[in-house]
């Protein structure tokens, strides 16, 4: 056991409440400013309305913050919850935690879905959710010990700076010899010095005898965590079985878990090979379909893509079981062992890299013009160790590189660094600078929205160009898919509640490749059903990958193959078996609708959440520049001629860029209208009174927010 000088600031001894049908019906409240720990009750009405996971988080966060509060206000909370099925070991993908907070990037609600053992251990220790408010003096560690029935706020000076070393030390210290019983949440120095900090959630990999990590990456929740002066939250628990959630119908749970688990074991090797390769198989596929973001989303493919895809990482990944929760047969959380960085604090030392996943490869690889798997691994490693979100890092540096190549910024601004696309050494240097809050990294770490302001106001760059090529919406950096040729995915990003992250809707293939939704109404229907169903995973403590990354062999013969209805039915059975509340597939959608609309109104409460905030940079909608247009000239010429009946004879490319832009921007506005109507919102994108009443979220405070925004 690692020895440390520990001062106990507060202790709460409690009697653990066993889980009943997936719930403990209580939450843990830690106020760091007051130094208090208390236990609150989750009442029946709240449970019914918000289900769990993100729903519980939002309810606790709404209660904590006022509309005028900023992200660094002590009232802002970091809320963490799994969900009623969270912690079930036999059903694939059942160990997720959902984290919410007010984001330093968007100023509004952010949520992030993450693996690792924390959420289940928190629940089994007696709490459906955890809310942390206030600010500590620093060096604070919160320990939730479900075995000894004790919560502590500790002060531990001298802890290691980076998230890897920190989690190692804390796992060792608190495990009492059973490391698998510890999960640690931590940020890192990068989280403190940027707005794009992530949280690392750990689990102990018993086979490899090492602490492993997954990240709650999006929206700077790690930055909020660091700002609170907190270094880590530790959960301790041990025994987990199918009975730990005390399901309503154990036999039904076993039956449905067996079906899904077996199907994955049988079909995954024939399909995407998630258990062997994870999401890296997407790299060559996206490249082939011209959808892999390269050079800041200008282009969708590159000859170098084969160097950073499936074939590279199948050689690099360390073979073995890689489930980020016990018993997940998808087991896609791969890593690379004995990697030796050539920069930074770990230069020359062997490290284990958790990842990379597709998003990191595309964001920190192709989008930067970097087609070298080792540089991607090194950026991945340091982002995790520093507590930085690899997506915001990748998309942010891509923006910087394009600005540099277009002369919008130059070496006078970058501290002498050449930040052209493909400059691997300087991309890494920028990551180190971001983490340290030094040099040009101090600016880049603020995220694209703030960089745009600084580049225009202080460096004299053209604000219109910055707006067109800065790939952020609502203040959040885009995740790594090209949306130019898929109107539905433009909606998937632009209309997502928290900003452009694909976890709400991933419709590119259905829309662009399969053309399953040619009309606005069909797109709007998809932009209703898919975000709602995907939201549901986050209410229940589940991972969405087992739903549609492996599909039944007869799925193509079903009426709606994209929905994988056989699995949706299993999920309804799963929910019923655990909670005892009978549910149909339609009920799952209604559950999500309530939480989804509540989140939209939460945005409104924070001063956002209307049509104006659902905008996209034009780079996400169509070609900004002549070169981009010419790279897909046939497609765009045909669209102008055939779809819009425009005579382009004798017109130059700049004229065609402008003509196409006018049409595509109008199209996106029409899509917004169709989606708002389908969701039961006003033309300004606000849920109507009838919608909130139908969903049972017509709480007085909700109605007051609507009324304040003219919806009565």
């Amino acid at each position: 056991m690692t020895t440390m000088k520990t001062t106990t600031l507060k202790t709460l001894a409690y009697q653990r409440r066993d889980v009943d049908k997936g719930y403990t019906n209580q939450y843990l409240d830690v106020d760091l400013s007051a130094g208090t720990i208390s236990v609150g009750t989750v009442e029946e009405k709240i449970k019914k309305t918000f289900i769990g996971g993100k729903g519980f988080d939002l309810w606790l966060l709404w209660d904590a913050v006022k509309g005028e509060n900023k992200w660094d206000d002590p009232r802002n909370a970091v809320c963490i919850s799994s969900g009623p099925m969270g912690g079930t070991p036999a059903y694939p993908g059942s160990g997720k935690s959902i984290v919410t907070s007010i984001s330093p990037l968007t100023g509004s609600v952010i949520d992030s879905n993450v693996g690792g053992y924390f959420g289940p251990y928190l629940k089994f220790s007696g709490f459906d959710a955890l809310r942390i408010t206030g600010k500590a003096q620093g060096d604070t560690v919160v320990v939730i010990d479900g075995i000894e029935e004790k919560i502590e706020i500790l002060q531990i000076p001298g802890l290691p700076e980076d998230a890897y070393a920190l989690s190692d030390v804390l796992t060792d210290h608190f495990s009492q010899g059973k490391k698998v019983g510890i999960s640690v949440i931590s940020a890192g120095p990068g989280a403190a010095n940027t707005r794009i900090g992530c949280l690392n959630f750990s689990w102990y990999d018993n086979a490899r005898k090492r602490v492993r990590y997954k990240q709650a990456g999006r929206g700077g929740i790690g930055t909020v965590f660091a700002d609170k002066g907190i270094r880590a939250v530790v959960a301790r628990w041990e025994q987990v079985s199918l009975k730990t959630n005390n399901p309503a119908d154990l036999e039904a749970l076993k039956a449905v878990a067996r079906c899904h688990s077996r199907e994955i074991v049988e079909l995954d090797p024939k399909q995407n090979e998630m258990a062997r390769l994870g999401t890296v198989h997407l790299v060559p596929i996206m490249n082939d379909f011209d959808l892999l973001p390269t050079h800041n989303f200008q282009y969708g493919s590159h000859p170098g893509a084969s160097l950073i895809g499936r074939e590279a990482f199948e050689k690099l990944f360390d073979p073995g079981y890689d489930g980020c929760w016990k018993g997940c047969t998808v087991a896609c959380a791969h890593g690379v062992k004995d990697f030796v960085p050539y920069t930074g604090k770990y230069k020359g030392k062997k490290v284990f890299v958790d990842g990379p996943e597709y998003e990191t490869i595309a964001g920190c690889g192709s989008n930067l013009g970097i087609f070298d798997p080792f540089t991607i691994l090194e950026i991945n490693f340091y982002c995790d160790a520093y507590g930085l979100d690899t997506i915001s890092v990748g998309t942010g540096i891509a923006f910087v590189m394009e600005c540099f190549e277009r002369g919008l910024i130059n070496t006078n601004h970058t501290g002498g660094m050449d930040l052209s696309f493909g400059n691997r050494v300087n991309a890494l240097e920028l990551v180190h600078q971001m983490a340290a809050g030094k040099g040009f990294g101090a600016i880049a770490g603020q995220g694209i929205r703030r960089m745009k302001g600084i580049f225009a106001d202080q460096f004299g760059a053209d604000p219109a160009m910055l707006q067109d090529i800065g790939m952020e919406s609502k203040g959040l950096e885009f995740s790594e898919y090209m949306t130019k040729e898929s109107l539905a995915q433009q909606g998937g990003y632009g209309l997502a509640l928290k900003g452009p992250q694909h976890d709400e809707a991933w419709l590119i293939f259905l829309d662009m490749v399969h053309n399953f939704m040619p009309t606005f109404e069909q797109k709007a229907e998809a932009l209703h059903w898919f975000p709602m169903f995907r939201t549901w995973f986050g209410l229940c403590g589940l991972c969405k990958l087992p739903w549609n990354d492996i599909v039944p062999e007869d799925n193509k013969d079903t009426l709606e193959p994209a929905k994988v209805m056989k699995h949706v039915n299993w999920y309804a059975d799963y929910y019923t078996a655990v909670t005892g509340n009978p549910a149909t597939p339609e009920d799952l959608i209604t559950m999500s609708e309530a939480v989804y609309n509540f989140q939209r109104i939460f945005n409104l409460k924070m001063g956002y959440g209307t049509r104006d905030h659902d905008t996209l940079p034009y780079r996400a909608v169509g070609p900004v520049t002549v070169e981009e247009y010419e790279s897909r000239q046939d497609r765009y010429d045909t669209e102008l001629k055939e779809k819009y009946s425009i005579d382009i004879t004798g017109k130059d490319t700049a004229w065609k860029v402008a003509a196409l832009r006018k049409r595509r921007e109008a199209q996106y506005e029409t899509l917004k209208d169709a989606v708002y109507e389908r969701r039961g919102w006003t033309a300004d994108g606000i849920p109507t009174v009838a919608t909130v009443k139908r969903l049972g979220i017509d709480f007085p405070e909700v109605m007051a927010v609507l009324a304040k925004n003219g919806v009565k």
């Binding site: 024939k270 399909q271 082939d288 499936r310 597709y358 991933w506 293939f509 549609n548 193509k556």
Partner: protein
Amino acid sequence: MITVGDQELPWQEGLTVATLLARLKDGHIYAVVKLDGRLVSRPHFNITPVPDGARVTLIPMIAGG
């Protein structure tokens, strides 16, 4: 002979992924196939030969994200 999923089909000279899929009832819905363990996407179907004895798996590419 070639194997497509669990099915054995006759091989013919000049067979490509595109012509193979055209012979199948639902061939048009696939955007990606696995040919002897290698992924092939639709833009390459026309130019990718299927050798005699190949194993082809049809990938239902609705995942991702």
